[in-house]
């Protein structure tokens, strides 16, 4: 198996609600994989399971063929899985630079660093600045993160996830609630990073964004995979249209 990330036959229920049932999703190394599906189909739950925020009821998660089922979030991050949240989560009372440095503490592998050493050595700050320049918010480095606009927060969250050079980044609705030009900007950054070897798994409702960016798309409905393939295949798959548009049998019948 060459999949970089594999969630195998995952089941997860919240009380009586089966959020995921027997759900298998694979992300090929070097790909940009899209994960789509109607609201409540289990996309974010799958993210939470992979990154250790939720425990599975059944099934396993593998990163690079290494079993990481129910690893804690800090462990998942250390294993090279970065993620962003649907409702952007940053540290509002830290500056943008400090936000970046929270993640950078784990670069440099096992080298021990004194906890009382000042936060952010020169190398860490330089790397953080490069990433902020890359995403386009370097001008706000000294501002409190609280003062950023919604779109800038999305960019900050993307930036600090990249600090630790993750092998795979899980993005939860990166284009949600941001203006079209920023969507283009974000898509370009993702393509850039992907060209440099970062793998992506993206949950998104904006179909143009997903279809234009992803190599492969997986469709979830009621917690199970209903289709998986290239964007062209997905676009013409009747089960996908069914899941999204909720076509009924009457609609399918020819008019009398």
């Amino acid at each position: 198996m060459s999949a970089l990330l594999r969630a195998e036959q995952i089941s997860k229920a919240f009380g009586g609600v089966q959020a995921l049932s027997d759900c298998t999703v694979e992300v090929e190394r070097g790909s940009i994989t899209g994960l789509i599906g109607p609201n409540g189909s289990g996309k974010t739950t799958l993210f939470n399971v992979i990154t250790g925020y939720e425990h599975v009821d059944a099934g396993d998660v593998y990163a690079d063929d290494r079993k990481i089922t129910n690893a804690r979030p800090e462990r998942a991050f250390a294993l090279g899985i970065g993620r962003t949240f649907q409702l952007t989560r940053i540290f509002p009372r830290l500056t943008v630079m400090e936000n970046m440095l929270v993640a950078s503490q784990h670069r440099g592998g096992g080298r021990w660093r004194s906890p009382l050493a000042r936060a952010g050595g020169q190398a860490d700050r330089r790397r953080a600045m490069e990433l902020l320049e890359f995403t386009g918010i370097a001008g706000h480095a000294t501002a409190l993160a609280d003062t950023l606009s919604y779109g800038q927060r999305k960019l900050l969250e993307l930036s600090y996830v990249l600090v630790a050079d993750p092998a795979i980044v899980l993005l939860d609705e990166p284009a949600g609630g941001v203006n079209p030009s920023l969507i283009q900007h974000i898509a370009a950054r993702i393509r850039d990073l992907n060209a440099r070897g970062t793998t992506f798994l993206i949950v998104e409702h904006n179909m143009d964004f997903v279809m234009g960016l992803c190599d492969r798309v997986t469709v979830l409905d009621y917690g199970t995979v209903v289709a998986s393939g290239t964007p062209e295949i997905i676009r013409n798959n009747p089960r996908v249209l069914d899941a999204y548009l909720g076509t009924t049998e009457e609609d399918d019948e020819p008019a009398p």
Binding site: T51, I90, L101, H106, L116, A119, T142
Partner: protein, 386 residues
Amino acid sequence: MTPASMMKGPDSLARPGRLQAATAWRAGGALALLAAIAVFPLIFTNALVTTIAVDTLIFVAAAAAWNIFSGYSGYISLGHAVFFGCGAYTVGIGARDWQVNGTAVFALIPLAGLVAVAVAVPFGLVALRVRRHTFVVVTIAVFFIFQLMAFNFSFTGGTTGVAAPFLVWNPSTYNDPFYYLALAIGVATIGLSWLIRGSRFGLQLRAIRDDEDRARGLGVRTMRVKLAAFMISAFVTGLLGGLWFYFITQVLPQSGFDPAFDLSVALMAFLGGLGTVSGPVLGALVLVPAQQYLTEQFTNDYLSQIVLGTLFLGVILLLPRGVIPTGSEKITSWRARRTGQAAAGQDAAGQAAAVIGPDAAASGPAAAPPGEPGAAAGPAGKESAR
């Protein structure tokens, strides 16, 4: 590298020149203050005054230590009297059972800190699993458990508590050793607090305060970080408990494990500014003498508490984030407004030069502020006129 740069916010990357000057000013101010505090008991020898001074310094250190955990991590502990009481009882029981006398008693104080840490580990492992209000309630509950144990165990002396051995010191300078020891602990704690605030460890704590789950997702081992801060905070508080025991010469369950201590340190930090280095210090420096003064002024104890309560309400209404953060914000915005007005003034002058026109070109530079050529001021004036 002095504790003075402590109230500096996160914007330390901006304007290095001006900042260095500001840092130098602060460093000078802090040194002058420290010198004044150091000679204080030599000038004011009245035992009543020095007693209040020792109390104040103990609370300065206690509030700073409380802030290292609660202020930075956002986990509000109302159970720090557990560490204070454990420290007091540790030295009390040690001195009683091992018959330690004279100045040798001070050797027991580090033990008080260590016992407080030993208590903090299981306490933290249980309490730090829950957040926010639940955490506050758990700390209060643990506090009462400890007070009850002090009342009921035989080795704590029950309701009669433990008395300190008699110290054979010159009564006129009796308070001085306590004063300087409390000062040393206080300065060390403030230094540590400053060091932590700018460190990786401090950044992790503040990240936990802002969004603990997000911090975990960025690799922060939150339990370890929180527990370490809790232990550091407990260590200092335990030391202070030990020192306080010798100072008061007695510990009772209700004075060692005192709910007023829990509330006081928290309120001092809130008053001065939660999560700042200098805020809790300022809070203690203002509140402890104020409390003592009010108690003496109004022999009716309730009246002094009403005055203090009103003060807190006022602070919470007017300065909800504490004196230091809100104050520095006000100063920053006032400075910005002042520079804004200066710029507007320059624009107005430029405009005047432009209105006068080419005939009066010679007077242009004179009309403009010094150092600003009339030619440059002209377009700027038109710009603002539009």
